[in-house]
């Protein structure tokens, strides 16, 4: 197949996934406690809908859908990035302890009562916790591998830091009152019920530049997957690529955990599904993981909103319950090929 044909095929796959995101978005907007059609959405966007419909769509469902798409994209892209960086197919966005740090921050906000009096401090606490974890893990890994960041040391530092954060969380929760305890547990399962335009905008501020940086490393990731020595011989600036990838991916994870809590499995399953289906060229894999993550989380969040309406499930529970069987099927099909 010619270069043009391959480029066209990759572009059309990205286009198909982008379309899937739009369709998932439309499904997410029309399903809910009150069913709304595409006509209602159009009227709401053009300002000719009745006020109730307009409020539901533009102030509740649309920002939530946008946030779901951004978080899903961030988790898919960062999961894929960390798999490439650590050369480990089991890597996922939370493997390096960022989510643990975020959870410590969030739990402290819940227990201190700030979450009730000043709700915005929850995201801030989670973000600061995540960034602190990111810096701590990097500091440990750098000190422990003086010849340049050793990714085996990095993964070990991340896992150990994560275990430590879990212990801190349990310690703080064991002293918490029942209401804080319940809120904290619910937050840790991940949910998008508090979505608004502000949260989506704040996430986008971090996500857009971090995504551009990661996408620019796609070729270097291909080289890195052959091993660091090989990547070096082929001309990659290995240490710079690794550090940039770590910082960009961690920042994406930090911002998305701060926005919606810890939503699991998306960042593990989505990049894998794309790898199984379309191979390991990161030039396609990275954008495809972003878009597939967006579409997947949009649908999962719709399910979370709809199945026990008017109550809601935590989105993170849906992603795991729906994602794991889907992935097992994919894995078995891949194995037969």
């Amino acid at each position: 197949m010619s270069v043009q044909a391959r480029t066209w095929r990759a572009s059309s796959r990205v286009a198909v996934l982008a379309l899937a995101v739009l369709i998932a978005g439309a499904v997410s907007l029309s399903l809910g406690a009150s069913g709304l059609g595409p006509g209602d959405l159009w009227r709401a966007l053009t300002g000719t809908a009745d006020p109730a419909t307009e409020t539901i769509l533009l102030r509740l469902r649309l920002p939530r859908a946008v946030l779901a798409a951004l978080v899903g994209g961030a988790l898919g892209l960062s999961g894929c990035t960390l798999q490439a960086l650590l050369r480990n197919p089991l890597a996922e966005p939370y493997v390096l302890g960022v989510s643990g740090g975020a959870a410590v921050g969030a739990v402290c906000v819940f227990v201190s009562g700030l979450a009730v009096t000043l709700p915005w401090t929850l995201s801030l606490g989670a973000f600061l916790g995540a960034v602190a974890a990111m810096a701590l893990v990097l500091a440990i890994a750098s000190r422990a591998s003086p010849g340049g960041m050793d990714t085996r040391v990095l993964i070990l530092s991340g896992v150990i830091a994560g275990a430590f954060f879990n212990a801190i969380i349990l310690l703080v929760l064991s002293l918490a009152d029942l209401q804080s305890f319940r809120s904290a547990i619910f937050w840790m399962m991940g949910n998008l019920s508090a979505a608004d335009w502000e949260a989506a905008a704040v996430l986008a501020v971090f996500l857009v530049p971090a995504s551009v940086v990661v996408l620019s490393l796609a070729r270097a990731f291909n080289l890195l997957s052959r091993g660091e020595e090989v990547a070096y011989y082929l001309g990659a600036s290995v240490q710079r690529v690794k550090l940039t990838a770590y910082l960009a991916a961690s920042l994406m994870v930090a911002a998305s955990v701060a926005a919606v809590g810890v939503i699991g499995f998306v960042g593990l399953i989505v990049p894998h599904a794309v790898r199984l289906a379309w191979g390991n060229d990161h030039r396609l894999l990275l954008p495809a993981s972003f878009l597939a993550g967006s579409a997947f989380l949009l649908l999962a969040d719709t399910v979370a909103r709809v199945v026990v309406a008017p109550a809601e499930l935590p989105t993170g529970v849906v992603t795991a319950v729906a994602g794991v069987p889907f992935f097992v099927v994919l894995l078995m099909r891949g194995g037969r090929r």
Partner: protein
């Protein structure tokens, strides 16, 4: 041309230098073989020459510049390396892997052009892996995989090529094919260095041979000057005989090493 002058390298916390005061030059249109017992410092020497390890003493020059002064992409355009082995948790096709050789020629957002494609195709053909381009690398035999890795190095279009034990684990035919390929590349004007345990093929294909022992140069020069019974018995600590290659062919008479059995001593 790649030159090492009095290169010394000691690993952190090691008692002795792994490579000690070695000088060599890899010149266009010639094949230099580096041989020596396990642990003689061959791979370390190759890593120093390729810039992946910085020598504590001496210097490595690429043409008239210090190797360490080149940035990573510049270096990869001037110097290609086929390391001993590699593995990946993520499978790729042969074409994808050979295409990686173009990395140093492309910007982060630059698409692969028809020129790059022609170079990758030529490298695939050159190493006789063209028909395997669409196959997964993991499905190939050891010899085919090794040729694909050399094709990737050729796609770098670097005038200097270093190979670390490229025939390890290959059968007779693949070993011969590989050295014939190196001979063709030499005829194309490439400067080649090959680290090898195969003294017999080195004697037949290499222009010069560098024998390392405990990090130092034990002997260097034309193969028939280096491959002497006393030297080899001393370096390898094993009795052996040298016999001339019986021919036919241009390498008739090349010294072939035959190690003796214990009961023949």
């Amino acid at each position: 041309m790649l030159r090492g002058r009095d290169v010394t390298f000691t690993y952190p916390r090691a008692d002795a230098a792994t490579v000690q005061g070695v000088s060599l030059s890899v010149t266009p249109g010639s094949l230099l073989a580096v041989a020596g017992p396990n642990g003689a410092g061959k791979t370390t020497l190759l890593r120093v020459l390729s810039g992946s390890l910085a020598p504590q003493e001496g210097e490595v020059m690429l043409d008239d510049r210090l190797l360490g002064d080149l940035d990573d992409r510049e270096r990869a355009r001037a110097l290609a390396v086929v390391p001993q082995s590699e593995s990946s948790p993520f499978p790729v096709t042969v074409r994808e892997m050979v295409g990686m050789g173009r990395y140093a020629h492309l910007g982060p957002w630059q698409g692969v052009g028809s020129g790059d494609r022609a170079i990758v195709d030529a490298a695939l053909e050159r190493c006789s892996v063209g028909p395997l381009a669409g196959r997964q690398l993991g499905e190939l035999s050891g010899g085919e995989r090794q040729r694909a890795r050399i094709a990737r190095a050729l796609a770098q279009e670097a005038p200097v090529l270093l190979l670390d034990e490229p025939t390890a684990g290959l059968d007779l035919r693949y070993r011969m094919e590989l050295f014939h390929l190196l001979q063709e590349l030499r005829a194309d004007g490439l400067a080649l260095l090959v680290v090898t345990h195969d003294l017999n093929l080195a004697a037949r294909f290499a222009d010069r041979l560098l024998l390392l022992d405990q990090g130092r140069e034990r002997a260097g020069g034309a193969p028939h000057d280096v491959l002497l019974r006393e030297t080899l018995e001393d370096v390898y600590e094993w009795p052996l005989r040298l016999v001339p290659h019986p021919g036919p062919g241009s390498d008739t008479g090349a010294p072939q090493t035959v190690p003796l059995r214990r009961d023949e001593m």
